[in-house]
Amino acid sequence: MVVKEEEMVLVTPGEVLGKATEVKAGKGAYVAKHNGLVYASLTGLLRTLSPPPDSPDQRPTVEVTGHKAHGPVPEPGSVVIARVTKVMTRMASADIMCVGAKSVREKFSGIIRQQDVRATEIDKVDMHLSFRPGDIVRASVLSLGDARAYFLSTAKNDLGVVSAESTAGKLVYCISKYDLNIILFYSFWIFCILQIASNIISFITLFKFS
Amino acid sequence: MEFVSPEGLRLDGRRPTEMRQLRAEIGNVAKADGSAVFEMGNTKVIAAVYGPREVQNKSQQMSDQALVRCEYSMANFSTGDRMRKPKGDRRSTEISLVIRQTMEACILTHLMPRSQIDIFVQVLQADGGTRSACINAATLALQDAGIPMRDIVTSCSAGYLNSTPLLDLNYVEDSAGGPDVTVGILPTLDKVTLLQMDAKLPTNTFEDVMQLAIEGCKAVANYIREVRKFLLIAVDIVGLCLVIKFRITFVF
C-alpha cells in the first residue's frame, strides 16, 4: 500500500470522504448514521486502501493518517510500561509511562492487584516481594478499571519487572526489613529482581541515539 | 425597648408563655426517603432525609454504626434583608453540627452499620428559632424516612426580656440581645439532649426559662405525635387505596 505523491490530499474533520455504501471508514474517519456518509474526524492525509482480494467486502477503506495524533491513551489489551510508585499488601500502584512503544504526555495511574501479578498460585503472592517502588514494569491493561486507575496485569511470561534502579538510593533501598539477602542480587547499576511466575529474566532497554 | 406591654402582651400579640402557630407537612420532596416542612409562626424550614444508603466517602464508613451527616442552608430570600452568603459560613457550619449531634443521639445508628444518613435542612423563612424549627423538621423527616429512633427529638427556645420569661422568640425578640435558651428534649424519655444559652442569666431565672422551653418542647412533641398519628391512619387508608404518593397538611 504505497501512497503516491500526487495522491496526497489533506482533509480536516467533517469533510465528506464518500458514501458508506461505496467506502468503508478506517482510522480517522466515521460513518454518520443519519445520512450514510463517511466523514473525516482528523486532520491529515487521505488514503484509500484497496481491500484484500479475498475479503467478501469489496469496498475500499478510506483513512486519515493524522499529521498529529493525540498522545497515546491506555486501552484494554495494550502493553504498557509503568513505574511502581507504591506497594501495599493487596496491590501496587504504578504510573503508566509508555503505551506500546510510545511515551505518554502525562502519566496515567494504574494498579496491579494481588490476583493479577502472576498466573499461578495467585493467593500466595507477596506484593512486597514482587515489587519495590521505582521498579519499571511491563504490564498489560486488563480493563479501564475504576474511577482512579487502570487495572494492570503482569500474569504472563513476557510481562513483569524489567528493571529496577539502585543508583543514588541504593543504600536506603537495600536495607529492607523484609529480606536482606536480596542485597546479594543487586548489581551495582541495574538489577533484576523477582521474576514473576517465570524464570525469564529480561533486561531493560537502553538506546543509542544517532 | 418594651417587649412586653403592661397588659402582658408581646410585640406580635402573644402572651409570654404562648407559642407561635405550628404547622407541619410531610412528604414534600418526592425523591427523598423522608421529608417534612415545619413552620413556627413565620419561621419555615424544610428538611429532607436521604438514607440509610451506601457511604459516599468510603474512608468515613464505620463498621459498627451509621454515619449521620447534616447540612444546613439558608435561602437567599429567607431573611428580611436580601443577602447572598457563600455556603458553609461559620454560622451554618455550627448549626449543621448542632443538628447532626442532636439527631445522631436519638437515631439507633448501631442498627444500620456501614451506611450513611443525610439530613438536609433548608430555611425558607427565618424569623427567630430556626435552630429549633430545623430540629423539629429533621425529626419529622427522619420519622417519614422510617429511620429507627430512640425517641423523637423536639426543640423550642425561650428567652428572658423585660424580666419576663418568653417562650419561642421571634426575630425581633431574638435580636434584642437578651438571653436565648434553646432546648432539645427526648419527650418520652424526658431527657434533655440539647441545651444552648449564650448570655448572662441568674441561675434561678435560668431554671425558669429552661423549664418554660421544656414545656414548649413538650407542646411541640404533642403536635408532632398528633401529626404522626393522623398520618399513620392515613397510611393505612392510602395502603388500602393503593395510592402511592400523598401529602397531608395539618394545622394546629
Binding site: T12, A32, Y39, H70 | -
Partner: protein, 279 residues
C-alpha cells in the same frame, strides 16, 4: 460616535406601571433605517477579518490563536489525560472547558477572572462535535484565554456591580468557540466536524453580523449559533431579545451562511499547518 441614549422621557417621580405605547429605542435608529455606520466601517452583513493559526502553545497537545478584528484569543488543548481524582468513572471521555480573561482584555482594567458562563457555553458548543467515545475515562481540557476583548473603542463603564453581570462583550464567545475547535483539531482529537460560531445583533430592523461591544450595548436582540458547517447541524444556539419567527429565520440563515464561510477559513488554516508539517 454613538451618544448615550438621550432623555426621551421626563423623569417620572414615582414608579409607574408599564406603558405599552412607550418604546425606548436607541437614537441611532430614531428615524427610519438610516445608514448607520458601524464603528469599524463594515457592512451590516460583513464579518470582521478572521485569522487563525495553530500551534501557538508548544507545551499543549494542541493550540490555536484567533484574531477577529480586535478580539484576540488563545486556546490550548491538553490531553486526553487522566481525569481528576474526584471524578466518577465514565465510559466515555470528558470535556472540560475554561474561559478566562486577561486583566487588560477589557478597556477598564479587570480582575482577569474566569468566566463561568462562557466556560459552560463553550462546553455545550463543543461537546456535540467531539467523538467522546474514542478516549474513555480520560479528560480533554480546553482552556481559552481572551487576550483582548472585542470592545474596540474606549468605552467607559463606570460601575461594574453585581447587577451588570452580562457586560462582557458576548461577541468574544463565537471567536473562542471557533478557535477552540481549531485547537482540538490541532491536538488530533477525533471530531465529527469543526465548530464554527457566529453571532448577529438585531438593532431595530437591521441585522448586524459579528457585532463589537459598542454595538452589543445598543442591541435589541442577539442570536449566536455554533454549528458544524459540513454536517449542517447546530450544536449551540442562544437567543436574547424579542424575535418574530420570520425575523429569527432570517438571522439564523445569515449566521449559518457566515459560519459556512468561517468553516472554510478554519479548514484552510488547518491544512496549511498540516502541509507545512509534511514538508
Amino acid at each position: 460616535m454613538a451618544a448615550k441614549p438621550s432623555t426621551t422621557t421626563t423623569a417620572k417621580a414615582t414608579y409607574s406601571p408599564i406603558d405599552p405605547t412607550r418604546k425606548t429605542r436607541p437614537p441611532i435608529f430614531s428615524g427610519s433605517d438610516v445608514d448607520w455606520l458601524r464603528p469599524d466601517s463594515r457592512g451590516f452583513h460583513q464579518c470582521r477579518p478572521a485569522f487563525f493559526r495553530t500551534g501557538a502553545v508548544n507545551s499543549a497537545s494542541g493550540s490555536a490563536y484567533a484574531e477577529f478584528g480586535n478580539t484576540k484569543v488563545i486556546v490550548s488543548v491538553f490531553g486526553p489525560r487522566e481525569s481528576k481524582k474526584a471524578m466518577m468513572y465514565s465510559n466515555i471521555g470528558r470535556l472540560n472547558c475554561n474561559v478566562s480573561y486577561t486583566t487588560f482584555a477589557t478597556p477598564i482594567r479587570g480582575q482577569g477572572s474566569d468566566h463561568k458562563d462562557f466556560s459552560s457555553m463553550l462546553h455545550k458548543a463543543l461537546e456535540g462535535a467531539i467523538i467522546l467515545e474514542t478516549f474513555p475515562k480520560t479528560t480533554v481540557d480546553v482552556f481559552a484565554l481572551v487576550l483582548e476583548s472585542g470592545g474596540s473603542i474606549r468605552f467607559l463603564v463606570k460601575q461594574v456591580d453585581e447587577l451588570d453581570t452580562l457586560w462582557f462583550a458576548v461577541g468574544d464567545l463565537p471567536v473562542v468557540i471557533s478557535c477552540a475547535s481549531v485547537a482540538l483539531a490541532d491536538a488530533g482529537i477525533m471530531m465529527y466536524d469543526l465548530v464554527a460560531s457566529v453571532s448577529v445583533s438585531c438593532l431595530g430592523k437591521n441585522l448586524l453580523i459579528d457585532p463589537v461591544l459598542e454595538e452589543e450595548s445598543y442591541q435589541d436582540g442577539s442570536l449566536m449559533i455554533a454549528c458544524m458547517p459540513s454536517r449542517y447541524e447546530v450544536t449551540q444556539l442562544t437567543v436574547t431579545g424579542e424575535w418574530s419567527t420570520p425575523h429569527f429565520n432570517e438571522a439564523m440563515q445569515l449566521c449559518l451562511d457566515a459560519s459556512a464561510k468561517l468553516g472554510k477559513i478554519m479548514r484552510s488554516c488547518l491544512k496549511e499547518a498540516a502541509s507545512d508539517e509534511q514538508e
